[in-house]
C-alpha cells in the first residue's frame, strides 16, 4: 500500500520515541498507526509488550486485524484495552491489597462488578424507596428509569472527570440560575448518589464509577500494580484519544515516561463523545508530553465538492461563533455538486422518506454499492427507522440498522419463556395475560396458529386458580379438540406436564436453570417452536445470561425471607429496568447493505462512505442537548469554573460547537455527496426550522456569490 508523505514521515521516526500525531479524520492516522505497529513487530518487539489503548474496544479492531495478518512471525498477542477494562482487571487482580482500605464491608470476599444493567437495578433498589416513601424528586415528571440512569451518569462523570462524587450536587447547584425547586432536585440527586455508594461499599459491589475510582485512587499509586503494568507493557499506541476521558489522559501522561515508545493519535475537530465525558482539551495537552509532534493535514477521503461544502459550512458556523476573519473562507460554486436537494418543497415526513428511498435506489442503479450509502439522523428514532426500512424493502434494497428493532424484553422468544415461567410459578402471583399466554403457546408449539392458540387459552387457562393454572387437553370439549388438533394437544400436554413437574424439581428455584431446562427439554425438542431455530436460540441465550448475571450479583447480595429472585427479575423486566438492552449492536457493517444509524454512531465507527443522507435536518436534535434535568455534561466537565452559571449564551455557544463538530465530522467521512432530507413538518407534525438547514442554505448562498 502506498503511504502518504505524512505517514512516511511517521515511519521514519526511531521506535524509542514518544510521538503525538494529530490531524483531521480521513487523513490516514489509524492506517499510519497500524503501520507503526508493524514496524514495532518487525523490529523484534514481542507483541505482548505492546498496549493498544482506545476509548472503545471496537476502535482497536484495525490493530487486531493487523496482528492476524502478521501472525506468522508473532509469538504472542498485543493487549487492547480501555480505561474501564484496565480498571476492572486491576481491581480484580489486586483486590486483596485494597479491599479493606477502599472501605468495602467484606474485604475478604470477592468483588462483584456491576454491568450497566445490574447497576441500574441496584440504583432502582436504593432510590425507589426514597421516591415512594420520602418524596424525593416530587416535582419531577420523568420516567423513573431516567432518574436512575442520570444518577449513575453523574457518578460516572465524577469518576472520569476526577472530582469527588460528594461534589455532584453542589456543582450542579452552583451553576443553576433558574427556580428554587431545582435546588431540591440537585440535593436529592446528591443524597441518592451517597446512598448508592454506601450500598455498594456495604455489599462489595463495584459499578463503573467505583471501579474507576478504586483503580485511580488505590491501585494506580500502588507499587505492585504499577510495576506489573510498567513491566508488562513497554510500547504504547493510543488511538482516538480525543474521545477519551480526562482521567484516562491523566493516567497516560503519568505512564508515558515509563514506555520505551509511545504513539498517541488524536483527531482534530472531533470529541463526539463529550456527553460521555470525552475531553478534547486534555487529550491535546498530551502533545506537550511527547518528543515529536506530527500533523496529518491531507484529507484522503473528500473529493473537491465535499471539501468545498465543508469550507462553506465551516465559514457560516465560524461567523455565528464570532471567530476571527481569517478563519472564514468562502466556498466555491463546486459546493453545489456536493449537495443533493429535493427538487420541490417537501411538506410531510412520509414524502421525505419516499424521496430518500427513491434517491437511494437511483444511486444503486447508477453503480454506487449499497454499503457506500448511509442514512443518518441525530437519534434515528424507531418510527423513522421503520419507515426507511419499509421503503427500502419495497424497492428490494438491502439495509442494516445500527441495532435490531427490539429490545431483549420485547423479543417474542423472551416473552414466551417468561410467560411460561410465570405459569410454572403460580406463587409469584404474576400470571401472564391471556393474550400473552396465547402468543407464548403459539411460539412454543409447532403447528399452533394464533387463532387456535387463543381458543386453547380460553379453554384451559384459569388464572384465578390456586396452584395449577392450566387444565389438561383432555378437559376440553371434543369439538374444540378436533379444531385445535390432537397433535397440538399432545404437545400442549407435554409442555403443561413439564411445567408442573419442573417447578418442583431440584435447583429450579433458580430462574436461569429453569429456563435452560425449559428450552433444552421441551421448546427446542422436535415438535416445538424453537427446534432448529438458531436465531431464537441466540435470543434465549442472551435472556438466560441476563438472568444468570442477575442471580450472581443480586442473588448473593440480597437474600431474604420473602425475596424471590425469579419474581424480582420478572418484575424488573416489566418495569423496564432490565432486559431493556438490545441483543447486540452491529460492530461490523454488512458489506452489501445500506446503513442506517444515529449520526454519532456512524462518526465513532470511523468508516468513510461515498454518500450520506442527512435526515430530518430541520430538527433541533442536531445540536440541542438531551433533556437531562438531573445532570449536566458541561457543568460536570473538567473545564467548568466553579462559581460560573450556565445561561442561555452558554447554551447557544454549546449548540454552535456541537453543530460544527458534528457536521464537519460527518463531512470528513464523506467522499462524494450529501443528500439533505427534510420536510416542512416533522414526524410529529411540528414545523421544522432548525439551525442546520439555515446554515446549509447560507453556505449555498455564499457559493453562488463566489461563482457570480
Amino acid at each position: 500500500m502506498l503511504l502518504t508523505d505524512e505517514q512516511g514521515l511517521l515511519l521514519t521516526q526511531p521506535i524509542d520515541t514518544k510521538i503525538f500525531v494529530q490531524g483531521k479524520a480521513g487523513s490516514g492516522k489509524t492506517t499510519a498507526g497500524v503501520h507503526w505497529l508493524q514496524k514495532l513487530l518487525k523490529a523484534g518487539v514481542p507483541p505482548h509488550q505492546i498496549l493498544v489503548f482506545t476509548p472503545q474496544r471496537t476502535l482497536a479492531q484495525p490493530y487486531l486485524d493487523c496482528m492476524h495478518d502478521e501472525g506468522a512471525f508473532a509469538h504472542s498477542l498485543i493487549t487492547t484495552m480501555t480505561l474501564g477494562g484496565l480498571a476492572r482487571r486491576m481491581v480484580d487482580l489486586f483486590w486483596p491489597l485494597i479491599s479493606e482500605e477502599a472501605g468495602f464491608a467484606h474485604p475478604n470476599q470477592p468483588p462483584h462488578f456491576l454491568t450497566l444493567e445490574s447497576g441500574q437495578y441496584y440504583m432502582a433498589h436504593v432510590v425507589r424507596p426514597l421516591i415512594e416513601n420520602e418524596g424525593y424528586f416530587e416535582s419531577l415528571a420523568i420516567h423513573r428509569n431516567r432518574i436512575y440512569a442520570q444518577i449513575l451518569d453523574n457518578l460516572n462523570k465524577a469518576a472520569i472527570v476526577g472530582f469527588p462524587y460528594e461534589e455532584i450536587g453542589p456543582r450542579l447547584k452552583s451553576a443553576w440560575i433558574g427556580g428554587i425547586e431545582q435546588f431540591n432536585i440537585y440535593d436529592d440527586v446528591q443524597r441518592c448518589a451517597d446512598h448508592f455508594r454506601q450500598f455498594c461499599l456495604a455489599h462489595n459491589l463495584l459499578d463503573f464509577s467505583l471501579q474507576v475510582e478504586v483503580f485511580l485512587q488505590r491501585l494506580w499509586p500502588l507499587r505492585l500494580c504499577r510495576e506489573h503494568l510498567v513491566q508488562s507493557y513497554r510500547h504504547l499506541i493510543a488511538d482516538n484519544i480525543e474521545e477519551d476521558t480526562p482521567v484516562t489522559h491523566d493516567v497516560l501522561r503519568d505512564w508515558l515516561s515509563e514506555f520505551e515508545s509511545a504513539l498517541l493519535i488524536a483527531d482534530e475537530e472531533a470529541g463526539f463523545r463529550s456527553f460521555l465525558g470525552a475531553d478534547v482539551i486534555s487529550a491535546f495537552s498530551l502533545g506537550s508530553a511527547c518528543e515529536t509532534r506530527l500533523w496529518f493535514k491531507q484529507n484522503l477521503v473528500n473529493e473537491t465538492a465535499i471539501a468545498q461544502l465543508k469550507t462553506g459550512i465551516q465559514s457560516v458556523i465560524s461567523q455565528l461563533q464570532s471567530r476571527s476573519e481569517e478563519e472564514i473562507e468562502s466556498p466555491t460554486p463546486a459546493l453545489r455538486e456536493a449537495l443533493g436537494l429535493p427538487g420541490e418543497h417537501i411538506k410531510l415526513f412520509p414524502s421525505m422518506v419516499k424521496w430518500v428511498t427513491q434517491n437511494v435506489a437511483e444511486l444503486i442503479e447508477s453503480g454506487v454499492p449499497p454499503a457506500e450509502i448511509v442514512l443518518l439522523a441525530p437519534y434515528m428514532p424507531d418510527v423513522l427507522r421503520f419507515a426507511l426500512g419499509d421503503g427500502l424493502d419495497a424497492l428490494g434494497i438491502p439495509h442494516q440498522s445500527h441495532r435490531p428493532s427490539r429490545a431483549l424484553r420485547d423479543e417474542p422468544a423472551t416473552q414466551t419463556l417468561l410467560s411460561l415461567a410465570s405459569i410454572a410459578y403460580p406463587g409469584w402471583s404474576m400470571p401472564a395475560q391471556p393474550v400473552n399466554l396465547a402468543l407464548a403457546l403459539m411460539q412454543a408449539i409447532e403447528g399452533l396458529d394464533l387463532v387456535r392458540a387463543q381458543l386453547l387459552v380460553n379453554l384451559v387457562f384459569e388464572p384465578g386458580n390456586d396452584g395449577i393454572l392450566l387444565k389438561p387437553f383432555e378437559a376440553i370439549p371434543n369439538a374444540f379438540k378436533d379444531r385445535i388438533t390432537y397433535r397440538v394437544g399432545e404437545r400442549y400436554d407435554r409442555l403443561r406436564q413439564w411445567l408442573l413437574e419442573a417447578a418442583g424439581a431440584e435447583g429450579s428455584q433458580n430462574l436461569d436453570f429453569f429456563l435452560s431446562r425449559l428450552f433444552g427439554e421441551v421448546l427446542s425438542q422436535p415438535g416445538f417452536g424453537f427446534h432448529d431455530d438458531l436465531e431464537r436460540a441466540n435470543t434465549v441465550s442472551t435472556l438466560i445470561e441476563s438472568v444468570q448475571k442477575f442471580r450472581w450479583t443480586v442473588g448473593q447480595q440480597l437474600p431474604g425471607e420473602d425475596f424471590n429472585l425469579g419474581k424480582e427479575y420478572l418484575r424488573m423486566v416489566q418495569d423496564g429496568v432490565i432486559a431493556a438492552q438490545y441483543l447486540r449492536t452491529w460492530e461490523e457493517r454488512s458489506p452489501d447493505a445500506v446503513f442506517m444509524a444515529p449520526a454519532y454512531t456512524f462518526l465513532i465507527s470511523n468508516q468513510p462512505v461515498d454518500v450520506q443522507f442527512w435526515l430530518d435536518i430541520g430538527s433541533p436534535s442536531w445540536y440541542q442537548r438531551l433533556d437531562q434535568p438531573l445532570t449536566h455534561p458541561y457543568v460536570l466537565s473538567r473545564h467548568w469554573t466553579t462559581g460560573d452559571v450556565w445561561d442561555a449564551d452558554n447554551e447557544l455557544a454549546a449548540a454552535h460547537e456541537t453543530l460544527r463538530r458534528l457536521s464537519i465530522g460527518l463531512l470528513n467521512r464523506c467522499r462524494k455527496k450529501v443528500y439533505i432530507g427534510m420536510s416542512a413538518l416533522d414526524v410529529r407534525g411540528y414545523e421544522n426550522r432548525g439551525l442546520l438547514i439555515r446554515i446549509i442554505n447560507e453556505a449555498w448562498r455564499r457559493s453562488l456569490k463566489e461563482g457570480a
Binding site: 501472525g71 480501555t82 469518576a159
Partner: protein, 279 residues
C-alpha cells in the same frame, strides 16, 4: 475454507472438534449459542466451576506478589469449603518449585499448517539454564492418568506452541524439546504433580498429529462436520435437542465417572465477556 478469517486454533476448539466435529461447526463456524444445561445438577456444576475460577485467581494473585496472608484470608471466607484445603495444599507444596522468571497467565501463539495456534498458560517458568517449565492448575476431583494426559490436546498443543515460541523467551535461542517440562498440579493431590517430560520424538509425533488435525478442520466443507458416533458425549452436550439426541442432560456423577472436564475455569470470569460500559 469455511472457518472465519480470523480463526485461531486453541485447545478448547480442537478438543471440541475431536469430541464431535458437528459441535465444532455449530459453536465456532455458525457461532450458535444453545442455552441448554450441560449436566443435570446445574448449580453444583456451576459452583464447582466458579470455585475453580476463584482458586486460579488466588494463585495468580500470589504469583504476582500479593502477600500470602491476604490471600489466605480470602480463601478462609470462600463459600466453597474445599478451596481452603486447595490453598493450603498449594502453599505447602508449590512455592519451592517456583524457580526462575515467571510468566503468569501468558498467551503464546505459533503457526502450524498455515494456521494460527494459541495457548494460554497458567504459569510458565524460565530458569537460567533456559529450561522452560509449564504448570497447569487443576481443581477436578480425580487426576487423569499420565497416559490420558499425554494424549490430551492441551498437552500436545501447549508444549508445541511453547517450543515454537521459545526464541522470544530465551533471547532468540531456540529451545530443544528436552528443555520443556509440563506439570499438571491437582489441588486434590498437591504433593505429587503429574510431570511430563518432552522429547524430539514427542514433538515430531504431536506436530504431525496437530498439523493433520488443523488441516482437516481447515479444509472441511459443511458436510464434513459429522455428528459423533459416541452417543455418551451427547448427554453432556448442550446441542442434544438440536441433534435429536436426547432430552435431559446427563448426571454430574456420570460426568465425573467419564472423566470429562469443564472448559477452562478461567473462562468463567472472562473480562472480555463483560459488556463495555461507554464512559
Amino acid at each position: 475454507m469455511i472457518l472465519p478469517n480470523d480463526f485461531v486454533f486453541t485447545q478448547a476448539n480442537l478438543q471440541n472438534y475431536v469430541d464431535c466435529p458437528y459441535r465444532f461447526y455449530l459453536r465456532y463456524v455458525l457461532r450458535t449459542r444453545w442455552p441448554a444445561l450441560v449436566v443435570d445438577q446445574a448449580l453444583d456444576f456451576e459452583q464447582r466451576g466458579q470455585a475453580g475460577g476463584r482458586f486460579h485467581r488466588l494463585v495468580q494473585q500470589y504469583l504476582m506478589g500479593v502477600p500470602a496472608e491476604r490471600i489466605e484470608a480470602l480463601a478462609e471466607e470462600d463459600p466453597w469449603p474445599e478451596l481452603r484445603t486447595w490453598w493450603a495444599g498449594f502453599m505447602a507444596h508449590v512455592p519451592p518449585w517456583l524457580v526462575g522468571q515467571r510468566w503468569v497467565e501468558m498467551s503464546l501463539t505459533a503457526t502450524l499448517a498455515g494456521q494460527r495456534l494459541l495457548a494460554k498458560y497458567d504459569l510458565l517458568l524460565v530458569d537460567e539454564q533456559g529450561n522452560l517449565t509449564l504448570f497447569d492448575w487443576k481443581t477436578s476431583e480425580k487426576p487423569l492418568s499420565k497416559v490420558r494426559l499425554l494424549e490430551r490436546i492441551q498437552t500436545r498443543l501447549y508444549r508445541l506452541v511453547l517450543l515454537q515460541a521459545s526464541p522470544m523467551l530465551l533471547n532468540h535461542q531456540q529451545a530443544a524439546p528436552e528443555q520443556i517440562s509440563m506439570h499438571y498440579w491437582y489441588a486434590t493431590h498437591p504433593q505429587t504433580p503429574i510431570s511430563l517430560i518432552y522429547s524430539q520424538v514427542d514433538y515430531d509425533r504431536d506436530r504431525e498429529y496437530l498439523a493433520h488435525l488443523v488441516e482437516t478442520v481447515t479444509n472441511a466443507e459443511v458436510e464434513d462436520f459429522l455428528r459423533t458416533a459416541d452417543l455418551g458425549r451427547c448427554r453432556f452436550c448442550v446441542y442434544r435437542s438440536h441433534c435429536e439426541r436426547g432430552v435431559e442432560a446427563g448426571s454430574l456423577e456420570e460426568f465425573d465417572r467419564l472423566e470429562l472436564e469443564l472448559d477452562d475455569p478461567d473462562q468463567l470470569i472472562d473480562f472480555d465477556d463483560l459488556p463495555e460500559i461507554e464512559f
